[in-house]
């Protein structure tokens, strides 16, 4: 399928009083039309910052994008003028944020907020936008949609607000939906509902999705491909089955080891990844995962590995990936 979005060597940094925070350090990935890409990693690893950079929503200053290209349908979004990027935002690329409780403007009715994008990008009148808003709310499963148009965000529950956010994002039929941890702030049953809605809409609308999460369980059933991020780098990328079946980066292995599974004995212990991610102001010279890695060697301390092809469509950034592949059985079974 045709490539929709191609990010090349994206770097984002923040100039703070304490120094330069290197949030994203040369990230490259692409999203095909209709593809779902999962972006996985722990808090502060650069997932959100990289997609916000794609949308050019990083506040500048203190943010800065010193290098990289974001090619969307052939245009470099980092180079186009403000008006052009605004015509892409919400129209071709839409975004759903993490916390539905704070992502809606508390003083505007939801009709106004959903209508905003419709009036802006599709040139609809207020009446047309209202009609469309009702349809959209019905699509995301809000009962009695028409009667709820003039409600304010505080009259909705968290799950309902996230549905409203999704309706807003879908309003202009975007080609790419960026979902920044859209289920993290919701409880588990609501999470499942939201994921179902997105899955259904993805199939019916054929849009591409970038789904950010730190929960591998959420992404397993949703994504075609997963990028694992750590300290502003993509450290492993593979199709979803390949990643779960053949993880070769110690960090990915750690992530897999730290999620509970239904099909294992109840006595199994969850293995946390010890330690903390590196300071993004003073980045280590070698591999950023060095301090926490159980498979490290001397080379890792001085040289940062680049992504290297380890299997078909599967790349990882680890000097010792073959060693990991051999020893990971023992690593994972230690928890049983």
């Amino acid at each position: 399928m045709a490539t929709l979005l191609e990010v090349k060597d994206l770097r984002t940094e923040f100039h703070t009083q304490d120094g330069i925070v290197h949030a994203v350090n040369g990230v490259s990935f692409s999203v095909d039309e209709g593809e779902t890409l999962g972006l996985v990693g722990e808090s502060g690893c650069g997932k959100s910052v990289s997609v916000l950079s794609v949308m050019r929503l990083i506040p500048q200053p203190p943010g800065k994008i010193p290098a990289g290209q974001v090619l969307f349908q052939g245009r470099d979004l980092l180079k186009v003028d403000d008006e052009e990027i605004r015509s892409v935002r919400g129209n071709k690329i839409a975004m759903v944020f993490q916390d539905p409780m704070t992502s809606l403007n508390p003083v505007l009715t939801i009709a106004t907020q959903i209508g905003e994008a419709l009036e802006l990008h599709l040139g609809m009148t207020k009446q047309q936008a209202r009609k469309r808003s009702v349809e959209l709310l019905e699509v995301v499963g809000i009962p009695e949609a028409e009667g709820r148009l003039d409600d304010y965000p505080h009259q909705f529950s968290g799950g309902m607000r996230q549905r409203v956010m999704i309706a807003m994002a879908l309003s202009c039929s975007p080609q790419l939906l960026i979902a920044d941890e859209p289920t993290t702030a919701l409880d588990v049953t609501i999470q499942a509902q939201i994921i179902d809605i997105v899955k259904r809409l993805k199939n019916e609308l054929g849009m591409a999705i970038i789904w950010i999460t730190h929960d591998l369980g959420v992404i397993a059933g949703l994504a075609d491909r997963i990028n694992v991020m750590y300290a502003g780098f993509i450290i492993e990328t593979a199709p979803v089955k390949e990643l779960f079946g053949n993880p070769v980066h110690p960090y990915t292995l750690g992530l897999l080891g730290s999620i509970p599974r239904l099909d294992e004995s109840r006595k199994a212990k969850l293995t946390p990844i010890e330690g903390l991610p590196p300071d993004l102001i003073e980045m280590p010279k070698g591999c950023p995962f060095y301090d926490r890695c159980e498979f490290r060697s001397d080379r890792c301390a001085t040289e940062n590995p680049a992504l290297e092809l380890v299997a078909v469509r599967h790349s990882a950034a680890c000097w010792n990936w073959q060693d990991v592949q051999k020893r990971r059985g023992a690593y994972l079974s230690a928890r049983l």
């Binding site: 929503l57 605004r86 505007l108 709820r148 807003m168």
Partner: protein, 321 residues
């Protein structure tokens, strides 16, 4: 989007009554007795100010030397002063002066404070630096002293300019005094408001729904007007309400000290000064001539403060006891 997407059908539910934030605010305010009283006093003063010519039985500057220093009576509700002017009429016209000055100064404060504050908070950079330095300078002086300074220095300048341009009639009329008072209070007042707006905008612009609005592609000016400002103005409304009391008081000070509105123009401040200056030796004779304008002014200041407190509690329900 294709029309084929099936909407899940749900049983009919009863939608709860829609309550806009404005209605909630009004309801919370209505439950607050001091705030309600304050609002009532303010409404009443505004009505008196609007209909001053109808309510006052005598012109505010009409002297009657056959009826000086009279006690309150049916003909003169608040008595008469040393020149036989009807005190009730003067106090009623004084309300008009006060309301006019409060309104104009508030308009200046808002017209300068909100755009400058919002621009400084949102864009930062040189606008921010400029605003903060100007505000620093204004705050470095004791406020009242600065008002005195402006009021005392700009008036002679304007007078000289008016005379040399054949506008001496304008200079002689009372309008110039109003302009001086309004200008002086406005110049000193707007920076505080701008700083407050700036601080609010600084925090509101980082909130998720603002980023969300940007992500929809809303133009910057619309994000500021529609998403940031309405969510930043709560403390500004409170400050403005309290500030209006301050403006009334400041106008009183200025007129009391003779650099505000000049007699015979009626201002509670200069009525107070007039009578207090004349009768303090003979205390407690004619005490009502001093008390009435003082009490009226104090009531109005209290009213604005009560309303401000009530608004503060209504806008921030989490802090109210």
């Amino acid at each position: 989007m294709s029309q084929s997407i099936a909407a899940p059908t749900r049983p009919e539910t009863v939608t709860p009554r829609v309550r806009s934030p404005q209605i909630q605010l009004a309801r919370r305010l209505a439950r607050n007795l001091p705030a309600l009283l304050g609002a009532a006093v303010i409404v009443w003063v505004v009505i008196v100010a609007l209909f001053a010519p109808v309510i006052a039985q005598y012109p505010y500057d009409q002297t009657n030397l056959n009826a000086v220093e009279q006690a309150p009576s049916a003909a003169h509700w608040f008595g008469t002063d040393a020149l036989g002017r009807d005190m009730f009429s003067r106090v009623v016209w004084g309300a008009r002066s006060a309301v006019f000055v409060i309104l104009m100064v508030s308009i200046i404060d808002l017209a300068l404070g909100i755009p400058f504050g919002a621009a400084a908070g949102y864009f930062g950079g040189w606008v921010d630096t400029l605003l903060m330095r100007v505000a620093d300078i204004l705050f470095a002086f004791p406020g009242l002293l600065f008002v005195f300074f402006i009021a005392a220095t700009i008036k002679p300048g304007i007078l000289a300019w008016a005379k040399s341009n054949g506008l001496s009639d304008l200079a002689k009329s009372g309008y110039l005094d109003y302009a001086v008072v309004i200008l002086a209070l406005g110049v000193v007042g707007w920076a505080g408001l701008a700083r407050m707006v700036r601080a609010q905008v600084l925090s509101t612009k980082e909130r998720e729904f603002v980023i969300s609005a940007h992500a929809i592609g809303v133009p910057t000016w619309k994000v500021i007007l529609r998403h940031i400002l309405p969510n930043s103005l709560a403390p500004v409304i409170v400050a403005l309400s309290m500030g209006m009391g301050d403006i009334a008081l400041s106008e009183g000070y200025l007129s009391f000290l003779g650099i505000g509105l000049q007699p015979p123009a009626p201002s509670w401040g200069n009525i107070l000064a007039d009578n207090a200056g004349r009768y303090w030796r003979t205390f407690p004779q004619m005490i009502w001539l001093v008390l009435i304008p003082g009490v009226v002014l104090a009531t109005v200041v209290f009213a604005f403060n009560f309303l401000g407190d009530g608004l503060n509690e209504a806008l921030n329900p989490e802090i109210s006891p």
